[in-house]
């Protein structure tokens, strides 16, 4: 059961990811990206990371994908499809090299496999790791400050004089 679901999700997500880069129509590429996000959320569920799966759908599908689609809608001359240029072959080589390095690292790492039962429910454990005593509260606060700075920067950039 587990492996059937995994292979189904893996095949769909890789096919979706391939069509993101190969589709001529940018709007369809964005929709394929959404499909890819959803299947990744499905993979999280098979790994018992239910919170992560819900957040993946909430942020990537509900937020980022919607903004990407909006940006595409606001772009002119979109019907011509995605443009290509002379950097095609170097980009392909670089991507291939990156893939080879990542694949090599993945295969040659001795992964630790936990034999414990997964945590149910996951949210209290996550919360106490993040914001409990001796958790990662400093990191969370730094990330929040960074996001605030980004929002303020965006406001300053678009403000009318």
């Amino acid at each position: 059961m587990q492996s059937i679901v995994f292979w189904l999700l893996a095949i769909v997500s890789i096919a979706a990811a391939l069509s993101v880069v190969s589709a001529r129509n940018v709007f369809r590429a964005a929709l394929a990206l959404v499909l890819c996000f959803v299947t990744v959320a499905g993979l999280y569920i098979t790994l018992n990371a239910d919170f992560l799966a819900a957040v993946q759908v909430l942020i990537y599908v509900g937020g980022i994908a919607v903004l990407i689609v909006l940006a595409i809608m606001l772009t002119r001359e979109i019907q011509r499809g995605s443009q290509s240029n002379r950097l095609r072959i170097p980009a392909f080589l670089l991507a291939g090299l990156f893939f080879a390095v990542v694949a090599f690292a993945l295969v040659n790492t001795g992964w630790k496999i936990s034999t414990d039962d997964p945590l149910v429910p996951t949210t209290p454990a996550l919360a106490s790791r993040l914001i409990g005593p001796d958790g990662f509260i400093l990191t969370v606060e730094i990330a929040a400050a960074l996001l605030l700075a980004a929002v303020l920067g965006a406001i300053v950039l678009v403000r009318e004089k």
Partner: protein, 374 residues
């Protein structure tokens, strides 16, 4: 060994009878059928109820020819729409045009997977229920987008643009208003939220501000009148479903009322005590409460004229958003400072705080005063 059973412990419910078929698939099949029947029946009843009530409020009859009191009108409309020709406009993106109604409707149905019909009786009792509801319901925006883009029509595109503006802005106050409830209940599971309301009082009394923000924000998110800018008939024909006919149009129509049903049942579950109540069976309480919420939706539709796009934006960012934030802060302070406080004490405090904040904010709130380029 990691299995699905750990993620979806579907049969660990107390409200189900002991001879309930324990298998995962049996539970899945039975509850899928229950949810489908629940949604389709109530949607058809809601359509009839809305048309009749609107008719009464506007001093006219409403549908009254098909069946007793016009009860079968929605059925007749469904048959009519199914017999119509399916038209796809020239130059439309055919695949996107075909998939759009499905993408709009399926997530709405998926929300009901975590809806408890009585104590523990749900398809799955996810312990991240609230998050799941918010995540899944945000997907159906994409369906409206796909319809707007795939139809190759400028009016549908304008409608889709308006939809993203409203969804992106109203998502924030809606999620923040639910955070107060999660703090009070101490759980993200919908069933636990209802159970903790059964132990104390319905959360509408403890969270009056959260109730207002969630109700109004939810109305904007499901594009109910007066926030139905994306179907503004006087400006952009019929909005995103201008180019749809036949069964595809019926799916959009179904999705629209199913979203209203989702909002009604969610308000009933989060704020009005869900299945909890005396005498009547729990599932009937849920339906009665949802129906009452839906009546208010119809009432508002018959009363308030449609807002402009700048009013829509201002209302979210300058009114609902600060209210939701303040509500979250007040609730957090209360939960930390008086964790054992009696609801009798907290109810008047919270209602007073809510009333003061609403009056203060509405003093400084001018719906038409700002400039919005959209």
């Amino acid at each position: 060994m990691v299995t699905f059973d750990l993620v979806f412990p579907a049969w660990q419910f107390k409200g189900l009878p002991p001879d309930w078929p324990g298998g995962f698939w049996w539970h899945f099949i039975v509850f899928s059928i229950i949810i489908l029947a629940f949604v389709l029946t109530l949607v058809i009843m809601f359509i009839w109820f809305e048309r009749r009530t609107l008719g009464r409020m506007q001093a006219r009859m409403g549908p009254n020819r098909v069946g007793p009191f016009g009860l079968l009108q929605a059925m007749a409309d469904a048959i009519k729409v199914m017999l119509k020709e399916d038209i796809v406009p020239n130059g439309a993106d055919k695949l996107v045009h075909l998939l759009a109604p499905l993408v709009a409707f399926v997530p709405v149905l998926m929300v009901f997977a975590v809806m408890p019909f009585q104590d523990g009786a749900a398809l799955v009792n996810l312990n991240i229920g609230v998050l799941y509801v918010m995540a899944v319901s945000s997907i159906s925006t994409l369906g409206i987008f796909m319809a707007g883009w795939g139809s190759n029509n400028k009016y549908t595109l304008i409608s889709a643009m308006r939809d993203v503006a409203s969804v992106v802005s109203y998502e924030i106050p809606v999620v923040l208003s639910l955070a107060g409830i999660v703090l009070l209940a101490g759980s993200l599971s919908l069933n636990d939220i209802v159970r903790s309301q059964a132990q104390s009082v319905p959360f509408v009394l403890l969270q009056p501000l959260g109730f207002i923000v969630f109700f109004l924000g939810g109305m904007a998110e499901i594009n109910r009148s007066p926030f139905d800018l994306l179907e503004a008939d006087s400006e952009i024909v019929a909005g995103f479903h201008t180019e749809y006919s036949g069964m595809k149009f019926a799916l959009f129509y179904l999705a629209e009322y199913a979203e209203a049903l989702v909002l009604s049942t969610l308000v009933a579950t989060f704020f009005l005590g869900g299945w909890g109540g005396p005498l009547l069976p729990p599932w009937l309480w849920l339906i009665v409460k949802s129906w009452a919420v839906f009546f208010v939706l119809v009432w508002i539709r018959a009363t308030v004229p449609r807002v402009r796009i700048d009013q829509l934006m201002t209302f979210s960012w300058k009114f609902l958003f600060p209210l939701a934030l303040l509500n979250l802060v007040v609730t957090a302070v209360e939960v930390v400072a008086w964790p054992e406080a009696l609801p009798v004490l907290l109810i008047p405090v919270n209602i007073a705080v809510g009333a003061v904040l609403v009056i203060l904010l509405s003093r400084n709130f001018k719906p038409g005063g700002s400039q919005v380029e959209a």
